[in-house]
């Protein structure tokens, strides 16, 4: 791809080729400053790639050859992931409350306990991640996203910096709410207990949040205060004796999700689950998604290098790779069937049709 023609004339042997030796003299720069001269004359050595059939076909084949294996590998990885998804928001409403879900969920006295049975379809290797999945919950709503105070979360000194937290900033005269804001206020509060054959499956809720968040974003000297004390309870309450940096559910929740359907890590089950085992889940169905039609799912999933179960990337890679290979073949056919020399001056418009213009 070396630049021919022009570059060579601009390069070394200009004394012989340069038709303007006198002009060179006038240029203030002596020959040692070749670079400056080339620059001002816009003759810097350059590579001038051109879309030749060879390059085009090679590029397409290359993309195809790279993409298809990647696609296969990620598809395979996605297929290996075992995932159990169970929607429980509707089923966990007792029959008698079917038509008045709101009063059921808002009433403190109703029994919210709900038991679900899940069958393991394939063997699940530990760690098995337990997620809750909410749908139609706009954690990215502008009002919601902004309603937090990072300064307050980070250190005790920022406790009163709640001006961004409205309408959940102050609990009347009792002072600022810690953690303030809509996000914290609406903390998810369903709980899950797992057992297999009456053996309780431990759910490890440590290290479910980002290390960076725990260490730097949520202060170890900040304790919940006046939380959920207002006229409307939004979600979970927090143990006011535990600093925010250890309230991992809160930390996870406050990493607001990008999309209205999202999962949040609830915990990890660190034992393998055998195929066809039945897991009994006892759910405390506290969280109110009924007023805006949000769905709640419980998800158990293993993980692979590609993440969770998602065929999209694999399929996309296969598709793009396939298209590229197809294009490569198409172009090969075109070049073989209708060849045309590159850069033949006789194709120039005025050579083809001199009387045209």
């Amino acid at each position: 791809m070396a630049a021919r023609g022009e570059t060579s004339s601009a390069g070394g042997n200009d004394a012989a080729q340069d038709p303007f030796p006198s002009a060179q003299k006038m240029s203030k720069r002596p020959k040692s400053k070749q670079l400056g001269f080339q620059f001002t004359q816009q003759e810097l050595p350059a590579c001038k790639p051109i879309l030749t059939p060879g390059w085009v076909i090679t590029a397409f084949i290359l993309v195809g050859v790279v993409f298809i294996p990647i696609g296969l590998a990620s598809l395979l990885a996605s297929k290996r992931v075992v995932e159990i998804v169970d929607r429980y928001d509707e089923d966990c409403i007792p029959q008698s409350f079917k038509n008045k879900t709101l009063s059921y969920i808002q009433d403190d006295k109703t029994n919210k306990t709900c038991t679900r049975s899940l069958v393991v379809p394939k063997q699940m290797k530990s760690p098995i991640y337990v997620y809750y999945q909410l749908s139609n919950f706009y954690q990215n709503h502008r009002r919601y996203v902004k309603s937090r105070s990072d300064e307050q979360l980070r250190s005790k000194d920022g406790e009163r910096k709640t001006n961004t937290c409205e309408p959940e900033a102050f609990a009347g005269d009792k002072g600022p709410i810690v953690p303030c804001g809509l996000i914290a206020w609406s903390l998810f509060n369903d709980t899950y207990k797992f057992s297999v054959n009456d053996t309780v499956l431990d759910v490890n809720k440590n290290n479910i949040a980002w290390d960076s968040d725990r260490k730097h974003k949520f202060g170890s000297d900040v304790y919940p205060k006046n939380f959920q004390s207002g006229g409307l309870i939004g979600g979970a309450t927090l143990d006011s004796s535990i600093p925010l940096s250890e309230q991992e559910d809160l930390i996870v929740w406050m990493r607001t999700a990008a999309l209205p359907t999202f999962r949040k890590l609830y915990g990890k089950i660190e034992v393998d689950l055998e195929v066809n085992k039945t897991i009994t889940v006892t759910i405390q169905n506290n969280y109110n998604t009924y007023d805006f039609g949000g769905k709640k799912h419980l998800v158990l999933s293993t993980a692979s290098w590609i993440g969770g179960k998602n065929d999209f990337l694999g399929v996309a890679y296969l598709a793009v790779g396939g298209i590229c290979l197809f294009l490569a073949i198409a172009f090969i056919l075109v070049y073989v069937l209708v060849p045309r020399p590159l850069g033949d001056p006789s194709y120039l418009s005025w050579n083809r049709n001199p009387a045209g213009r």
Binding site: Y131, Y138, N140, R142, F292, A316, P345
Partner: protein
């Protein structure tokens, strides 16, 4: 037809005068201004009254005859008053006074200077001078700003741009709490950045001006203080001080001459810095002040002069000196910037200093024009605004619908919580931050505007400016546009229209000085009906002229002239034979009838000096050198006499009178007193006016023969002058002399009176012969014209020359070729004009149908094209322009490949340009070198000035200035092509790159309840068009070259890409927008699907989108880059790396929302896989389209590029010779 700026034409030529009785009394007793000889004053006093009535009559004539410039004369009378009052408001008024030769009127109409308007300068008493009047000091300031005024003034100037106001409004909107989409700092940043960059650029330029000012202000001059001359800094010079200038010094201010080293009080100045004329001009000190020496006696006096104005050819003042009142005129003042030459010293009194000097007042800024590309671009900007409004409307409507549907739930939806429950007042919870449904929609709309603001690319404006600066730099530095002979670089005076150079369709060119060198060479002569030319062409020899002995030194003329041997013999033979006598008279006329001043230039040989004739007209110089070659050497000229060395014998002639050349008479005359007391008048001038004053009854056959020879000469493309003479009887002489004295002493309308006197004596002449001068074509002109024509540029030549001369120059410059059909329009009435136009159109249609018929029958198509040439003269144009015939002329002219207009007046030139400009959208370029081209240069879309022999007025009015006509080829075909391609691509790319980002933001808004949350951090969205993506486009805009210079010059047809607007069209815009939408879809939706139902958080996904968008956008650019130099590599890859660094920094700040997100997502394989597939998927359609397009219907540029790369051109190089135009002039 209005000239944008005044034409600075020397006053005697355009003197709009008003018929007004001259106010003689105050000046009647003064000696006349010492421009003529020093004859006693007494004669004039008696004659002045008798002569004036006729003078007035003449005024009427002249003003009616000058109907073409009636606009100027009308406005001038009103302007002159304004001029005086507003004159000192500095640089601003340079534009205001742009209606004509306003101040000239003031200076010429010699009225008593109004006491209020006058400035009083007490000579040698600066304290008293400055006590009452606040005259400016001599320190100058070309700089615009000071440290204090920089910020407000620069900001004010920058906000003249509408786009900036738009962004300011958006930034202000964002400060409202309800609308605060971005943090306050972030939202102001883009605007602040753009303002800052421009401010830095302005500050740098201003700093350079400051520096230049400082150097200028601190130069030293010799000032008379406290009885002696002291060195003083220029800035400390005050009005009223006496200043001494030595030879080769530059004048620090405008001063009235008091005395010079020359006993007659003459000083020679070079005005090259002022008007670019390199010849020496003479300035005179008043007789009365001549002998005064300030050291010995105290000089005092009072100068009353007009207010500062910018007319460099006019000055009106009077001086009270030792009880006398002396009148001062333009010949008594030397202006700042001039250089004193050939005069040991000159003494003067400062009258204007600093910014009130005429030179500073004439410092007009570069004209500002707008490129057609930018005008077209505005259309697309409007489309983009509509896009923006559409997006915002969609978002706000959807938001409204969503709010309506969830109206009942809003109060308790956890992510909305309309009511504030924390502190419930008795009457129930209140709404928090909710303004009602309609208002919410409206606010959403405004917020959407803020979020999507970069749909209108703010950075495009700054990028375009930077790119133009870069392009200008390269044009200026191009060695192929450097003129060695005049040491002149290419100049970019307008910064806004670089890309217009790539789309020119019409070139209007001046002839003299533009196509030709304006270096005249005497070729041949016809004397007394005998033609001394041709036939013996080979026997012509170069003769340097007879060496003349003077004071023991040998003088020889500087220029060699080809001489005719037979003629040489005749001159040597003396004047005894009748032939010899006529030859003698003829050459005497050539040597004497001029205004040249001989100067002696030292050579390496101490005893040899060269005679250098300094004068305003190159024709005169050529004739004088010719006369010298034949032994008639002019060796001395003073105001009273000339000394001519005739064949070694020195003869002294008294110059009794001189009627200078003017464009109405088109001739000049000199009245010589011979040693034998006879008086003869010698006249030389253009044939048209000369034959009307020649006595036709005398020597009919000589006149006839001369006419024939004249015709033959002009057919050869030579410039001809007719020379005639007459002996004056003593009574005739007396009569003339009285009239002349009276006229030259007239205080009002002197020029007109002189003209009348001249026409009285210039009659009944006896023809001596005619001279023929060759105006040589500039180097490379024929090749340049051929290249331009191959590039489908129509070349029109507009010249003041005769039709025959014009046609012959047309042939020699390859403008006309033998296979062209010429249509000549040469009519004297409107009717005949109409008829010839109709005939022409008929003929052209016939020819075109013929040729197309021949094409269809498949004949040899190359020969079938018959091109047409239209030749039209100025008289016909008078009938055509500004009438309904204009349309027909245009119709005809557009069919012709060559148009040649001869005998056209300056304003007609502009009229012709306007004719084309009005009727097509094609871009026009006018090129010229003289003051007569100014109107045309200003009228055309692009004006190019040639820095030539005729002064700097054309350059001052032009957008680009260069040394030679042939530089037009590299300017248009190479730089114009590149500039257009680069700029067009850059504009499209900028639209695309911002729209991609906006669409990515828009798609996300659809997933956030239409509430305009951005996943991309606010800092990234602000930096996107500043740091992330702007640098590569600027670099590519400056450096990328689609084709090499060599190819572009070899195939001028490639220029057609710009003419056809191939690189920027509505179609391309929409294709780009479709591509934009696809790319934004790929960037947005691939991660969306990949991260569906996962724990992905806003910041991580936002980072992915940011990086993906930046990489795609930069790779998109990389795909289109044609020449990869290391700068390009650095810019593109550097941008991507800079983006990553920025994203990392933003995510490493713990107080920001997305803390550490990039590190988390960067650890996952899915992130990298997403990135890879986004890039490939986004770019595939464009890539495929590009490949298919290049393969199936490659444009000329692509074919040429491939050919260039694979050397297909090289094989043919033997057949097609390298275009010699590229070679600079070499001698």
């Amino acid at each position: 037809m209005s000239a944008g700026r005044p034409l600075l034409i020397p006053s005697p030529r355009t003197t709009p005068t008003t018929p007004q009785t001259p106010s003689i009394p105050t000046f009647a007793d003064l000696p006349k201004p010492s421009s003529g000889d020093s004859k006693p004053v007494s004669t004039m006093e008696s004659n002045i009254t008798s002569d004036n009535p006729s003078g007035i009559e003449f005024h009427h004539n002249s003003s009616s005859r000058r109907s073409i410039s009636s606009h100027q004369s009308k406005t001038s009378s009103t302007n002159s008053v304004k001029e005086g009052i507003s004159a000192d408001s500095g640089s601003k008024r340079t534009r205001q006074g742009s209606h004509g030769a306003d101040s000239e009127f003031m200076s010429m109409s010699q009225r008593e200077i109004n006491e209020e308007d006058a400035r009083l300068v007490y000579i040698n008493d600066p304290d008293r001078t400055n006590e009452k009047y606040e005259f400016t000091g001599n320190s100058i300031r070309t700089a615009k700003y000071s440290i204090i005024t920089f910020l407000p003034r620069n900001l004010f100037e920058q906000f003249h741009r509408v786009a900036y106001i738009y962004f300011l409004v958006i930034a202000i909107l964002n400060q409202l709490p309800q609308l605060a989409v971005f943090g306050r700092g972030a939202s102001i940043m883009p605007l602040a950045f753009v303002l800052l960059v421009t401010a830095i650029k302005d500050a740098y330029e201003d700093w350079r001006r400051h520096r230049a000012d400082r150097i200028e202000n601190n130069r030293l001059a010799s000032i008379f203080v406290n009885g002696q001359f002291q060195q003083k800094k220029w800035k400390d010079i005050r009005v009223g001080e006496i200043i001494k200038i030595r030879a080769n010094d530059t004048l620090p201010c405008d001063m009235v001459l008091l005395s010079t080293s020359d006993p007659t009080g003459v000083a020679y100045v070079q005005t090259i810095n002022l008007d670019g004329e390199s010849n020496l001009k003479t300035r005179y000190a008043k007789q009365e002040t001549l002998s005064k020496v300030p050291e010995k006696e105290k000089i005092s006096g009072l100068i009353k002069c007009e207010k500062p104005n910018r007319n460099i050819y006019g000055f009106q003042a009077n001086m009270e000196f030792e009880g006398k009142r002396l009148s001062l005129g333009p010949s008594n003042i030397i202006l700042r910037g001039c250089e004193l030459k050939n005069t040991a010293w000159a003494l003067g009194v400062v009258v204007y200093a600093g910014r009130e000097t005429k030179a500073m007042l004439n410092n007009a800024g570069a004209p500002s024009k707008r490129s057609s590309l930018e005008t077209r671009m505005n259309l697309e900007i409007i489309v983009l605004s509509l896009f923006l409004i559409a997006l915002c409307t969609v978002v706000s409507i959807l938001a409204g619908v969503w709010l309506k549907r969830h109206k009942d739930e809003l109060n308790i939806i956890p992510f909305y919580l309309k009511k504030d429950y924390t502190d419930v007042p008795p009457d129930g919870p209140e709404d928090y931050n909710y303004y009602g449904w309609g208002m919410e929609i409206f606010l959403t709309f405004l917020m959407a505007v803020i979020v999507f603001q970069i749909m209108i690319p703010i950075s495009l404006y700054i990028s375009m400016e930077l790119v133009r600066v870069g392009q200008s730099y390269f044009m200026i530095r191009d060695k192929n546009m450097y003129d060695e002979t005049t040491n002149a670089r290419f100049q970019c005076r307008a910064l806004n229209i670089n890309e217009d150079l790539g789309q020119i369709k019409y070139v209007f060119s001046d002839k003299t000085g533009t196509l030709t060198e304006n270096k005249m060479e005497f070729q041949c002569a016809s004397i007394w009906g005998v033609d001394y030319s041709g036939g013996e062409a080979n026997s012509h020899i170069d003769v340097v002229g007879n060496p003349v002995e003077l004071d023991g030194k040998t003088l020889r003329p500087k220029m060699a002239v080809k001489v005719h041997p037979k003629l040489l013999q005749l001159t040597k033979g003396g004047k005894d034979s009748p032939e010899g006598k006529h030859v003698h008279d003829f050459f005497l006329a050539l040597a004497s009838c001029n205004t040249l001043v001989p100067f002696f230039v030292d050579t390496s040989d101490p005893v040899v000096k060269l005679i250098d004739y300094q004068g305003e007209s190159p024709d005169e110089q050529a004739l004088a050198y010719a006369a010298a070659a034949y032994g008639f050497t002019l060796i001395e000229r003073t105001s009273g006499h000339i000394v001519i060395d005739i064949q070694g014998e020195r003869q002294r002639f008294n110059v009794l009178g001189l009627h200078e050349f003017d464009s109405d008479r088109k001739r000049m005359s000199v009245i010589l007193g011979f040693p034998d007391k006879t008086v003869k008048v010698f006249v030389k001038g253009a044939d048209t006016t000369m034959f009307s004053v020649i006595d036709r009854s005398l020597e009919k056959n000589v006149i006839h023969a001369t006419e024939q020879h004249l015709h033959a000469y002009s057919c050869l493309g030579l410039r001809t002058l007719v020379v005639a003479m007459r002996e004056l009887s003593s009574s005739e002489f007396e009569q003339w002399h009285r009239a002349f004295e009276a006229a030259s002493a007239a205080l009002m309308g002197r020029a007109a009176s002189l003209r009348k006197v001249a026409s009285n004596v210039e009659n009944h002449l006896c023809v001596l012969g005619a001279s023929a001068i060759e105006d040589k074509l500039q180097q490379g002109v024929p090749e340049a014209i051929e290249s331009l024509r191959t590039a489908a540029i129509k070349v029109w030549v507009l010249t003041g020359d005769k039709q025959e001369t014009a046609i012959s120059i047309g042939y020699s410059s390859k403008l006309l070729t033998s296979n062209m059909t010429q249509i000549v329009i040469n009519s004297n009435s409107k009717q005949s004009c109409k008829k010839s136009l109709e005939d022409g159109i008929l003929m052209s249609t016939k020819l075109t149908t013929q040729s197309s018929f021949m094409n269809n029958t498949g004949g040899n198509s190359v020969a079938a094209v018959t091109s047409l040439a239209l030749i039209i003269d100025g008289t016909s144009l008078v009938y055509v322009l500004d009438s309904e015939l204009e349309e027909q002329l245009f119709k005809l002219a557009s069919k012709c490949s060559v148009v040649l207009c001869c005998r056209v007046a300056p304003l007609q030139k502009a009229g012709i340009v306007a004719l084309v400009k009005k009727r097509t959208s094609d871009l026009t370029l006018a090129i010229g070198d003289g003051a007569n081209d100014v109107s045309m240069i200003q009228m055309a879309d692009v004006g190019v000035g040639i820095t030539g022999q005729e002064g700097r007025q054309a350059v001052m009015a032009s957008d680009f200035a260069m040394g030679q006509f042939s530089f037009l080829v590299p300017l248009l075909l190479v730089h114009g092509h590149w500039n257009y391609q680069r700029m067009a691509y850059m504009i499209l790319y900028n639209f695309y790159r911002n729209a991609v980002f906006v669409f990515v933001l828009f798609w996300y808004v659809l997933f956030t309840c239409f509430t305009l949350t951005t996943a991309v951090t606010e800092w990234s969205s602000m930096l996107y068009s500043i740091i992330y993506t702007s640098f590569p486009t600027i670099v590519v805009g400056i450096l990328d070259k689609d084709l090499s210079r060599r190819t572009l010059l070899k195939f001028p047809q490639l220029y057609g890409a710009g003419q056809r607007q191939e690189s920027y069209s509505t179609k391309l815009f929409w294709l780009t927008m479709m591509d934009t939408i696809w790319q934004s879809v790929a960037i947005f939706w691939i991660p969306l699907f990949a991260y569906r139902r996962t724990t992905i958080d806003i910041s991580s996904l936002g980072d992915l989108w940011t990086i993906a968008a930046v990489v795609v956008v930069n790779l998109h650019l990389a795909m289109d880059v044609i020449r990869w130099t290391w700068v390009t590599h650095a810019a593109i890859w550097g941008s991507i790396i800079a983006t990553c660094i920025c994203v990392i920094i933003i995510d490493a700040l713990p107080f920001l929302f997305g803390y550490w997100a990039i590190f988390h997502i960067g650890k996952t394989a899915a992130f990298w896989l997403c990135l890879l597939i986004i890039v490939v998927a986004a770019l595939i359609p464009r890539f495929v389209a590009k490949v298919i397009y290049q393969y199936y219907s490659p444009c000329d540029i692509q074919i040429a590029r491939a050919a260039e790369k694979y050397g297909n051109f090289r094989e043919r190089e033997l057949e097609i010779e390298m275009n010699p135009i590229t070679e600079p002039q070499r001698r």
